[in-house]
Amino acid sequence: MRAAYRNHPLWLAFALHRLSGLGLALFLPAHFYVLGLALHQPQQLDGFLAFGAHPMVKLAEFGLVFLLAVHMFGGLRLLALEFLSITARQKTLIAVAISAAFALACLFLLRAFSI
C-alpha cells in the first residue's frame, strides 16, 4: 500500500515521471537494437515489423508511446515549474500533462488499429 503521505497529485506525477523515464531508459536499447538490424539484416527488421502488426504488440507499442508522451509532458510540466513562475496552477498542469499524453497515445493507437 502506498504510504499515506504520498497520497497527493504531485507525488503521483513524480512517480509516473520516474517510472516512465526508467521504462524508456530500459526500452531504448532494445529499440535501438531492432533499428540497428537494418544495417545488416533488413529482412530481420521486416520480420520484427510484421510481428508489430499483431494487436498485442500494438498494445505494447501503444504503451511505449504512452510512456514517452507521459514522460515528455511530465517533464515539460517540471520544466515549467522550475523555470517559469508557475505556482497555483501546478495541479492543472499535471492534469494537462497527463491528458495531453493520453490523447497523443490514443491518437497513435487509433491510427495503428485503423489500417
Partner: protein, 110 residues
C-alpha cells in the same frame, strides 16, 4: 547527487528532446498508417542528411539525459555513490550512445 552541471545537462537535453519527440511521434503516427515495413522506413530516411542530424541529435541528447536519469535513480534506490556511480553513468551513456548511433547509421546511411 545532482550538482549544477548534471542538473543543467539533464534539463537542456530535455528541452532539446521535446520538439524531437513530438516530431518523431508525428512521423510514427503518420508512418504506421499504412503498416510499417523496413522499406518504408528506410526509403524515407536513408541518404537523408536531415534525418541523420535529427536522429543523431536525438540519440546524443537521450544518452546524456537517460544516463543522468539512471544515475539519480540508482543513487537514490541503492545508495551507490562515488566511482561506481560515475562508472554507471558513463557506462549507460556509452551504451545508449553506441547502440543509438548504430541505429541512426542503419536507418540513415545509404
Amino acid at each position: 547527487m545532482l550538482n549544477l552541471r548534471l542538473y543543467l545537462l539533464q534539463r537542456i537535453t530535455a528541452m532539446i528532446m521535446a520538439p524531437l519527440v513530438l516530431g518523431h511521434l508525428a512521423v510514427m503516427v503518420y508512418a504506421i498508417q499504412g503498416g510499417l515495413s523496413a522499406d518504408d522506413i528506410l526509403s524515407r530516411t536513408q541518404g537523408s542528411l536531415a534525418w541523420a542530424v535529427f536522429y543523431g541529435l536525438f540519440v546524443l541528447a537521450v544518452s546524456v539525459h537517460g544516463a543522468i536519469g539512471l544515475r539519480v535513480i540508482v543513487h537514490e534506490w541503492t545508495g551507490l555513490r562515488g566511482a561506481a556511480l560515475g562508472f554507471l553513468t558513463w557506462g549507460s551513456f556509452a551504451m545508449l550512445a553506441i547502440m543509438g548511433g548504430r541505429a541512426v547509421m542503419a536507418v540513415t546511411l545509404a
